[in-house]
């Protein structure tokens, strides 16, 4: 039995002083319910989570106490992906046929400052100033540039595209296009990554209404099918965030294993994908993830970016809404924003940023601490 996504809702990412994270979550759920034409009291189950903004099931105080099964999910940067996977499994199993997936967050400004103990690490690691996600992403792309001939210009091209896409997305947080020159002149944060090459922790919420495909057409003439939802953790030998040491053996990154499993389950390949979202914590991450998800060979990104292949009008449009770079990263919501965007694209409702050519297959990929990846494939 296939799973359909029939409702999309979002509370704009960025900073919303007046609303708590949970309240932003409620805005997103109401929007998704309205989009699907479903009442909250019809919803049988929900999965949701946030990192810093509280328990998702507190949403029932806003939305109504209807006795539904509501499960909180916390799974690092794959929180949204894990919620969607849980909902996918609940419908696949036949136990339920109508549910909500929601992610929201509200982070303070500035880089994340995780507590080492929560990640199974000694306090010394944080005290020594080694536990910053920015450092990891910088060191991963530093080595990648060395091994695969990627240039600083390519890093700037990714950011230029992101902020351009943000500038034509009325829901984006960062709406000002930036030139490569401006990006390359911005402050160096963690060599080789500059200020405009990094996303910022932010606020925001996304909700999806999902149902069994057999009832989807009761609600909408244009359901999107969630072909697969996959989450994978790391293998021994992959180079991951928050690692005081790294093994000499080389193994596939969780992105590679999640991506491969997702393509297998969906019965398609990277060449079939019309519009995609790749984790762009920073410009370098997007470049690495193009190859780790199977969309090109390592090193090929330099030419693809020069040719504009990942722009909205390119042959593999990446992060059409501006991605994390233009929207910021509320951890609990970020992975679901990606799904929201590719669904909008498949419904041809993405306005000025709509990819041309009647897209039919969408792909989303999230990566983050502590070395976890989530991949979703949607079709219509």
């Amino acid at each position: 039995m296939d799973v359909a996504i029939i409702g999309l809702g979002m509370h704009r990412f960025g900073r919303t002083q007046a609303l708590s994270g949970v309240q932003q979550g409620a805005v997103a759920v109401r929007a998704a319910l309205a989009d699907a034409g479903v009442a909250w009291k019809q919803i049988q189950f929900a999965y949701g989570g946030s990192q810093d903004a509280g328990n998702a099931d507190a949403l029932v105080n806003e939305l109504g106490l209807t006795g539904l099964q509501f499960t909180n999910i916390w799974n690092g940067c794959a929180t949204g992906g894990s919620s969607l996977h849980a909902a996918y499994a609940a419908i696949k199993s036949g136990e339920y046929d109508l549910g909500v997936v929601v992610g929201f967050d509200k982070h303070p400004p500035g880089a994340f400052n995780p507590d080492p103990a929560e990640w199974g690490l000694g306090n010394w690691y944080g005290e020594a100033g080694l536990m910053l996600t920015t450092q990891f992403f910088a060191m991963k792309i530093q080595r990648y540039m060395h091994d695969h001939g990627i240039t600083e210009q390519a890093l700037a091209r990714v950011a230029e595209k992101a902020f351009y896409n943000g500038s034509i997305n009325p829901e984006a947080w960062r709406r000002q296009a930036l030139s490569q020159e401006e990006i390359l002149a911005s402050m160096m944060v963690s060599h080789p990554l500059r200020k405009y090459m990094f996303c910022s922790p932010a606020e925001g919420a996304v909700a999806l209404v999902v149902c069994s495909e057999k009832i989807a057409r009761q609600f909408t003439a244009h359901p999107v099918t969630l072909k697969t939802a996959v989450v994978r953790s790391r293998y021994y030998g992959s180079f991951e965030v928050f690692s005081p040491s790294q093994a000499p053996v080389v193994n596939d990154a969780p992105t590679q294993t999640a991506s491969r499993a997702a393509f297998e389950q969906a019965g398609i390949g990277p060449g079939d994908v019309d519009v995609l979202q790749l984790q762009d914590t920073d410009s370098g991450a997007e470049i690495i993830h193009m190859a780790e998800n199977g969309f090109c060979e390592h090193g090929e990104q330099e030419r693809l970016l020069r040719d504009g292949a990942t722009r909205i009008d390119g042959r593999m449009p990446v992060n059409t809404d501006g991605g994390c770079l233009a929207n910021g990263e509320p951890v609990g919501a970020s992975g679901l924003r990606q799904v929201h965007e590719v669904c909008l694209q498949l419904r041809c409702q993405a306005g000025a940023r709509q990819v041309p050519g009647d897209p039919r297959v969408g792909y989303t990929h999230v990566y983050g601490a502590p070395g976890v990846s989530g991949v979703n494939i949607v079709t219509r």
């Binding site: 010394w124 963690s190 060599h191 080789p192 040491s245 053996v249």
Partner: protein, 144 residues
């Protein structure tokens, strides 16, 4: 009275020592190393490891420069105006394990993948009892 010094955590490096070395663990079943030392093996899941010295020389595998003051729990000097950027990198040790560490060189011009590095032990901060708290780091190996 002279300032006392103590390592930031036990079992990260030999101390006090004439020529300090990093400490890690080696799995007796599969031979894989870990840093810091841990009882269980990340590779083969066995629980049969021994603490071993990882040495004090290596080569730089990747690097960056930390250019802004980290938030707590960072324990170095807390005033932004006194913050001195520090290098961060993974140093490949003779056993092949790559250990993440602070680096003394702190400019892109002074850091290069593949450069030889040597272990140093340096104070990170002074604790409330007036003791220097020591952290391991790597400096560029100077030519003999």
């Amino acid at each position: 009275m002279s300032v006392q010094s103590q390592p930031i955590a036990d079992n990260l490096f030999t101390w006090p020592a004439e020529s300090p070395e990093l400490l890690g663990s080696r799995c007796r079943r599969c031979g894989e190393h870990a840093f810091p030392a841990q009882p269980d093996c990340r590779s083969c899941s066995a629980s049969d490891s021994e603490t071993v010295a990882l040495g004090n020389r290596g080569t730089l595998w990747t690097w960056t420069v930390q250019s802004f003051l980290p938030k707590p729990p960072y324990a170095g000097p807390a005033e932004p105006e006194h913050f001195i950027p520090y290098g961060v990198g993974y140093v490949e040790m003779p056993c092949g394990l790559r250990v993440e560490a602070r680096l003394k060189p702190n400019t892109p011009e002074s850091l290069r993948i593949g450069m030889p590095m040597k272990l140093i032990i340096e104070p990170l901060y002074r604790d409330t009892d007036g003791n220097d708290v020591l952290i391991f780091a790597f400096d560029a190996e100077t030519e003999a």
